[in-house]
Amino acid sequence: MQLPKLPVGEAVEMLVDGIEEYFGWLLDGASEGLRYLVGGFEDILLSVPAPALILLASALVWFVTRRDIRLAGLTALGLLLIWNLELWDLAMLTLALVSISTMLALAISIPVGIAAAGSEPLNAALRPALDLMQTMPSFVYLIPAVIFFGLGSVPGIIATVVFAMPPALRLTNLGIRQVPRELIEVADAFGTTPRQKLFKVQLPVALPTIMAGVNQCIMLALSMTVIASMIGAAGLGYQVLVGIQRVDIGMGFEAGLAIVIIAIILDRITQNLVPQHENR
């Protein structure tokens, strides 16, 4: 006797078809908006001459690392290398995609993380969802992303958001829960409203942890660029993909190196954005 196979796959297909049928107009709108956003951001980045942008990026690193001249110099060298390899335009497109994805992911994960820190039921409900998002192979949700948004940058952004969101959400949740009890008592004892407590005590004290989440979010978004390029997201990731397909080691390596350089620069900037304050 054999148990019939449960129709899990069929159910998901039906769900996806249903969403496509009834919410297609909404998805198309969102898709259009995102495309516009990415295009605009890319245009802005490309309208600045490369040397000026390199100088600007180095100055930013110098400023946020509190005058670390070595790191600023390495930033300039790295970006000059990208420019020299003639990958500048692709790098800017990747930067635009990663920026938009990260902003979207943070816009969802930080408020939801704050809510989850204050609500046990929400926290319990979110946990399996986050596990699913983090461990489900990202190729699997590329398929519905394509069905909903077609090929191109937009489904890439959506897949990236799904993949990059969980750590930011988890660390926001954790950071707020780890605010020392005595500091919460201070807020209460001085008669704060819940809103004042959140903005004057909980968020600032949790900020270093939240920023670690933001940093992770950016890193994961960058790591998705190659996978997203499989569904037509352009940029450095696509270059790597082409390199793989043509077994062109040099081409793949150059584009990969450019991704690493961007990753390191973004990492150093976000890690130093907030000064670490010693507790107590």
Binding site: E185, V186, A189, G191, Q196, P204, L207, R280
Partner: protein, 419 residues
């Protein structure tokens, strides 16, 4: 002796004149920690003990039908060992912990029945709180910590900064407004905590083991300062401590707690001389004896000290300047090396010998927790004052004969005045 009596008389008459209107009045306050306080309450009413209730329901009876009144301008001390419920009781007054049953009246208004909005207004305007581990906001400067209460009230920035600077001056932290809390010492942090509670000018201060985390010497300074501030501003203070000496020093009245019950309420004199039961008696039994006071309670700062790298001329100059007959010699890390007397130093300067030749190393030395009785036997055998040295070898304080006599006399007066 006559003087002492009249002080007490004044204190009593002050309380009498205001006794009609307690500012805080707690009636039948009970707190049960756990899932189902109702069940524990039923058991409690049927006369079960804390232990029995815990075994039966798993609930903890933290406060058991507590009642007391605090008069305006009074320092009321809640004292007890850890787990006696004193901190829970304090937190019920501003409802950081929700009472299970009972009434808490502040100027006749019941805090327990207040809506969130009314409670917030009461916390902002009337209740200031000071915490054991300072609880300063680590991301804010000292000044921004101090004006936190005013910020919550929505006072404009210029005004609150002015008020903040004013209060910082009062607690002796003038010029530290821009520092971060992590750069301050423990004593300074608690000054910030005190300033923060005073800035919004509440009439009641709730102090939870406020000085327990501080060094003994700093703690005594802070106690003196609190008494001075209290006299000037006439705040009502409810002060939680586990330290009997602190309670006796600060309290106009003391409530001694055990297992969530107030065992006795009274002035320090009453508690010392008329302990209501065996527990209180045991608690205060040793108070007048040299056995309870430790070296750290009676020691003074070892100032000045001479560095061992300095010559006899420097030591001589220091002693002459401070008009003392001997001086401790320490390393840069304050490790005790010995002692030099005025005569020896003068001789060394005349004959050109070095510090090492005149250094006396055979000194009476005790640990900070040595009792007074040990110290007395040491000090009678030695012509020099006793050095207090911690377990790392650092010089922490010095005890002269005079300091011991003064400490004993102080204790003696307390007991004498009533007897």
């Amino acid at each position: 002796m006559k003087l002492e009596g009249s002080v007490i008389f004044e204190k009593l008459s002050r309380e009498d004149s205001t006794s009609l209107q307690p500012i805080v009045s707690v009636k039948g306050l009970t707190k049960v920690f756990g899932q189902d306080p109702g069940k524990a309450l039923v058991l409690h009413r049927s006369g079960c003990s804390k232990q029995e209730i815990h075994e039966e329901t798993g609930e903890t009876l933290a406060l058991n039908n507590v009642s007391f009144e605090v008069m305006p301008g009074e320092i009321f001390v809640l004292m007890g060992l850890s787990g006696s419920g004193k901190s829970t009781l304090l937190r019920c007054i501003n409802r950081l912990i929700e009472p299970t049953e009972g009434e808490i009246l502040i100027d006749g208004e019941d805090v327990v029945g207040m809506s969130q909005k009314e409670l917030r207004a009461t916390r902002r305007r009337r209740l200031g709180m000071i915490f054991q581990n300072f609880a300063l906001l680590p991301h804010r400067t000292v000044l921004d910590n101090v004006v936190f209460g005013l910020e919550v009230l929505g006072i404009p920035e210029a005004e609150r900064c002015q008020k903040g600077e004013e209060v910082l001056r009062m607690v002796g932290l003038d010029g530290y407004g821009a520092s971060m809390p992590s750069h301050l010492s423990g004593g300074m942090k608690q000054r910030v905590g005190l300033a923060r509670a005073l800035t919004s000018d509440p009439d009641i201060l709730l102090m939870d083991e406020a000085f327990s985390a501080l060094d003994p010497l700093i703690r005594r300074d802070m106690q003196d300062e609190l008494l001075e501030i209290q006299q000037r501003l006439c705040k009502t203070i409810i002060f939680v401590t586990h330290d009997l000496d602190e309670a006796l020093k600060l309290g106009d009245r003391i409530a001694l707690m055990k297992d969530g019950v107030i065992v006795q309420i009274g002035t320090p004199e009453e508690i010392l001389t008329n302990p209501e039961n065996a527990y209180v008696e045991r608690f205060v039994a040793d108070v007048d004896l040299t056995r309870v006071l430790s070296a750290s309670d009676v020691m003074r700062r070892p100032e000045p000290v001479a560095q061992c790298t300095a010559g006899p001329r420097v030591a001589l100059h220091l002693m002459e300047e401070h008009d003392i007959a001997g001086i401790f010699v320490v390393t840069r890390q304050r490790l005790l090396r010995g002692r030099v007397t005025l005569d020896d130093a003068a001789g060394a300067v005349r004959e050109g010998t070095s510090m090492k030749d005149i250094l006396i190393t055979d000194l009476p030395v005790v640990a900070p927790d040595a009792t007074l009785s040990d110290i007395i036997s040491l000090i009678t055998k030695s012509p020099y004052p006793v050095a207090v040295v911690d377990d790392t070898g650092r010089l922490r304080g010095v005890i002269s004969r005079g300091a011991i006599l003064a400490a004993l006399a102080r204790k003696g007066e307390d007991a004498h005045a009533v007897a």
